[in-house]
Symmetry: C2
Subunit: 221 residues, 2 copies
């Protein structure tokens, strides 16, 4: 999609960023006019951005009423995590049985990401750590070379971001745990060990589930 600097894209990126970083909390009601005024453009491009955000599940449009920033619900958390397990699990399984050359190429890429992530942890560089985390999972899904799955996964990652916002994902030992689980996943990347790789993925996602569980704000109805 045009990442050019069209008004539509600005509206899309700005609003999405505000939703993902929490400055537009779930339950908030926003209007096309507000965003249009804030970005000094007309309602038309904002409208298109809203439609796209609704398709991504971040907004819910109410006819003649406004746009509701959807609150993260436990059901959504579960749906996102299940979908992630399905997509990433498939990618891991496929990768285990892929030709050696390809599997090792991806494994090398993953090791590189882990190296960066370890360094970020050592430097206490949270953004770099998060970015490496993102690269790790995306690299796995990219290995399927399936644009449909990849696009779905991109949307899942966005939702995950928002989910993590309200969670205690920042426990002191959590980064180490994440890193260890990533390493366990990569270590299981070998022919015949697909089930194990998927099990390690499940461990990883379960940890996210735990980190997120019970930390939701009641979400303005």
């Amino acid at each position: 999609m045009g990442n050019g600097t069209s008004a539509k894209d600005r509206a899309y990126r700005d609003t999405k960023a505000r939703i993902l970083d929490g400055s537009l909390p779930g339950g908030e009601l926003i209007t096309e006019g507000q965003v249009a005024d804030a970005l000094a453009m007309s309602r038309t491009p904002v409208r298109e951005a809203f439609l796209r955000l609704e398709a991504e599940g971040l907004l819910r449009l109410f006819p003649k009423r406004g746009a509701l920033v959807v609150a993260v619900s436990p059901a959504e958390v579960e749906a996102v995590l299940e979908a992630r397990e399905v997509v990433e699990g498939h990618a891991l399984g496929k990768l285990c049985e892929a030709p050696t050359a390809e599997r090792e190429a991806v494994a090398r890429a993953l090791h590189e990401v882990l190296y960066v992530q370890r360094a970020a942890l050592a430097d206490d560089d949270e953004p770099a750590f998060a970015e490496a985390d993102r690269r790790f999972h995306i690299t796995i899904v990219e290995s399927t070379r399936n644009p449909i799955l990849l696009e779905l996964y991109a949307s899942l990652r966005d939702r995950q971001l928002r989910i993590n916002l309200g969670s205690l994902d920042r426990g002191p030992r959590r980064p180490q745990e994440i890193l260890a689980q990533h390493e366990a996943i990569v270590d299981a990347l070998a022919p015949g060990r697909a089930d194990e790789a998927r099990a390690r993925l499940r461990d990883h996602l379960d940890a996210t589930r735990v980190a997120v569980a019970g930390t939701r704000s009641p979400a303005a109805s």
Copy 2:
């Protein structure tokens, strides 16, 4: 999404239908103005419909140029079938290990669908057969109760429709084959037989792959 009779929805449904039934073949270049005139509305709602269709992978928008009806490529066929296998396979596996009551409820629903599909075959009622086919697969995916996976699957089914258009999916024995494969899938729905159910699904999708293979028109570049 509002299935009300708004202009936007009419533009969306009409254009989508025309793409899916082949009256707008892949490679065709259409414009907002054409559709707007044809439906006696302004460009605004058409534009929104186009954006949505692009998100679904049916159109590709070229800035200031027009909208290209994307031609089905072998790569897309493969991507759709792989994604279907991932989603439906997950649903089947989950269903096999689900509580007995739930599994049997879904199995009953599937048997009902198969009954309808058999009747449609006997009556030589192609639309009814296709609709039953659709219900069969959707019922499986619905059993996950995961709206994300369900929505993805809906989009996959649409793409599959278009893929089937240019295929020899109408071989004389093909309906019997489909029905038999559906039955094999349902028969494998039992605890501990998840792998078998997935294998039967793979058989089914492989048959589609074969039916579609080598029947593509060269697709205007």
